[in-house]
């Protein structure tokens, strides 16, 4: 039983140290939500915030969030890339009030503090008062009142609030670092954005995206229309707290990928949806789930960054950035467009995830009940199959460590007995 003591968020969850249970209360608890902002989103984690190709010209900016904090990423005058908090250093109003644009000198509407697009404070009205009266004291320095800056990593853009966070490469680990480098190895081109609110806790969505168990169960569109290739080779790399899911085409002796003819209960009347072009060596599916909440996915020819934005314990938003490459020809663009019918808010597959996660969220009552996560045993090791929930256990392992939540082996044996 989970008897949560409300005034101490980090202990008393009676959490099993093998992470085979998750107390449902963690999806609705406001205190825990606030602690997540501090320990994860503003803590020593890196967050995928966008793509460098979105901000080409000096003065270009894009906006998003890290956790609940609004941020801006931008191109400075010397082609340098920056990220800062979108909150005036004076009274906290949003300085930038568009999703994107070009503005070398954004200013806050409230008292007209002016900044440059790298976050420096440039001018302050009445700094010296008017006619010798009022104003700021002599020791007021604009250098001390810029917009709060983040550490940033260029290319596929990552940012962190933390000086203690390791380098991005150390944070991600070699397999994920290499996968991202491989996908970003030629110039990227953004093809579209999508935005969606889902009435569920953000952690449910992260678990869902690395959950290799639910795919063929929930998403029956894929097997029913024969879009599944049973000969693909699956690989789950659990790198707690991250996860890397890969599915590769089998190849013959000459290294030519083999694609069997589709077989299912139904036949597509228009097979445009199932046409794909081999472009990432033999990789058909690549899901990079970066702790806490970033996703970088390739499903056949569809590529996206997904930014997960927690709003409150019961609400999250998804911002998708869909992309291809600068050198895509019209045929490739059309293939990506058609395959995209699988994903996004109306997608054959993705719409089911949103519906199911909301059904979990609105079924939670704080009665001590727990989720059960034992497919593939109780470990977090990598596997050459998808029939495991090791990645989900890996998430909770990283989560409890960074959140400072105590776990106990007794909790495990007690329940088992």
């Amino acid at each position: 039983m989970n008897q949560m003591i409300a005034n101490d968020t980090s202990t008393n969850w009676n959490w099993r140290s093998d992470f085979t249970r998750v107390p449902y209360e963690v999806y609705v608890d406001q205190q825990l939500f606030d602690l997540e902002q501090e320990k994860l989103f503003r803590g020593p984690c890196w967050h995928l915030i966008g793509l460098e190709c979105e901000i080409r010209e000096p003065g270009d900016f894009e906006t998003t969030y890290i956790g609940t904090t609004p941020i801006v990423y931008s191109r400075g005058p010397d082609a340098d890339v920056h990220a800062f908090v979108n909150r005036c250093a004076h009274r906290g109003a949003r300085v930038i009030r568009e999703l994107r644009g070009n503005n070398p000198n954004p200013s806050c509407p409230y008292h007209n503090w002016r900044y440059d697009i790298t976050g420096n404070l440039v001018s302050v009205p009445m700094q010296k008062g008017l006619k010798g009266k009022g104003g700021y004291s002599e020791d007021f320095s604009k250098d001390c009142h810029g917009l709060q800056r983040l550490r940033i990593h260029a290319g596929v853009l990552f940012a962190t609030f933390s000086e203690e966070a390791p380098t991005l490469r150390e944070y991600l680990g070699e397999p994920i670092w290499e996968r991202i480098a491989m996908i970003g190895s030629k110039p990227l081109r953004v093809t579209g954005y999508q935005r969606q609110t889902v009435q569920c806790n953000w952690k449910l969505f992260v678990e869902n995206n690395r959950d290799t168990y639910h795919g063929p169960q929930l998403h029956s569109f894929v097997p029913n229309f024969g879009l599944v290739n049973p000969t693909e080779r699956a690989q789950v790399d659990v790198e707690p707290p991250h996860a890397l899911l890969t599915s590769r085409l089998p190849t013959d002796e000459e290294g030519v990928a083999k694609i069997p003819a589709p077989r299912g209960r139904f036949e597509l009347e228009d097979t445009g949806l199932s046409q794909s072009i081999n472009e990432l060596e033999d990789i058909q599916v690549s899901v990079v789930s970066i702790f806490p909440s970033s996703l970088f996915t390739c499903i056949r020819n569809v590529r996206s960054c997904r930014r997960l934005i927690p709003k409150d314990p019961n609400t999250m938003e998804i911002e998708y950035i869909w992309f291809g490459y600068e050198d895509d020809d019209e045929e490739m663009r059309e293939v990506r467009r058609k395959q995209n019918n699988i994903l996004g808010p109306a997608g054959y597959v993705a719409m089911e995830d949103a519906e199911v996660l909301e059904m979990i969220q609105n079924g939670i009552s704080r009665d001590g009940a727990e989720g059960f996560i034992e497919l593939g045993g109780n470990g977090t090791e990598s596997t050459d199959h998808f029939n495991t929930e090791a990645t989900v256990r890996g998430f909770w392992k990283g989560y409890c460590e960074l959140m400072g939540i105590e776990t106990s082996a007794e909790a495990a044996t007690e329940e088992a007995g």
């Binding site: 579209g192 999508q194 209960r265 949806l273 467009r337």
Partner: protein, 163 residues
């Protein structure tokens, strides 16, 4: 009324009526009728306003380039996909005819879609514009192309049925 004005008013009625039939086929759960309002190689596209304004050519919510793709959607919704029971209610405005070339009409109308969930609670799902290309042959109007452009480019939960 002179003949030209009368002809124009007729076209407006024809287009409005086609949009009415479109909305009702979905609202009344006659999804199978929806693809039949299109010509064989007709296109049904939902292009959220953010992308359209930026001139981006991907990121569509739905991108169906044939009646076959629309029929596949209907098959999937009827037999395969998992989602909660819901009702859509379409309201489309009067039609603005942009151009008439031969038997092809280009028009715009505004729309609202209200969604009612399985517990009977209604909410606005989407507001936007239909950009339609319609052909009239043998007295019958069909969509050559329907591009739905939601102003509501941030949507909630899921778009299950056509907007």
């Amino acid at each position: 009324m002179n003949a030209a004005v009368e002809k124009f008013a007729d076209l407006e009625r024809v287009v409005s009526r086609l949009n009415l039939r479109y909305g009702m086929s979905i609202d009344e759960d006659r999804l199978e009728d929806w693809p039949e309002l299109f010509v064989e190689n007709g296109r049904y596209i939902i292009d959220p306003r953010e992308n359209r304004d930026l001139g981006l050519d991907g990121g569509y919510w739905m991108y169906y380039t044939s009646r076959g793709m629309m029929r596949d959607r209907v098959t999937a919704l009827r037999h395969v996909n998992v989602f909660n029971k819901h009702y859509y209610r379409h309201l489309s405005s009067e039609t603005f005819i942009e151009s008439v070339e031969g038997d092809v009409i280009a028009s715009r109308s505004n729309y609202l879609v209200v969604e009612t969930n399985w517990e009977g609670k209604s909410q606005l799902l989407s507001a936007g514009v239909y950009h339609d290309k319609i052909s009239i042959k043998d007295g019958e109007a069909r969509f050559l192309e329907k591009v739905v452009v939601p102003d509501s480019f941030h949507t909630r939960t899921a778009i299950i049925s056509p907007l």
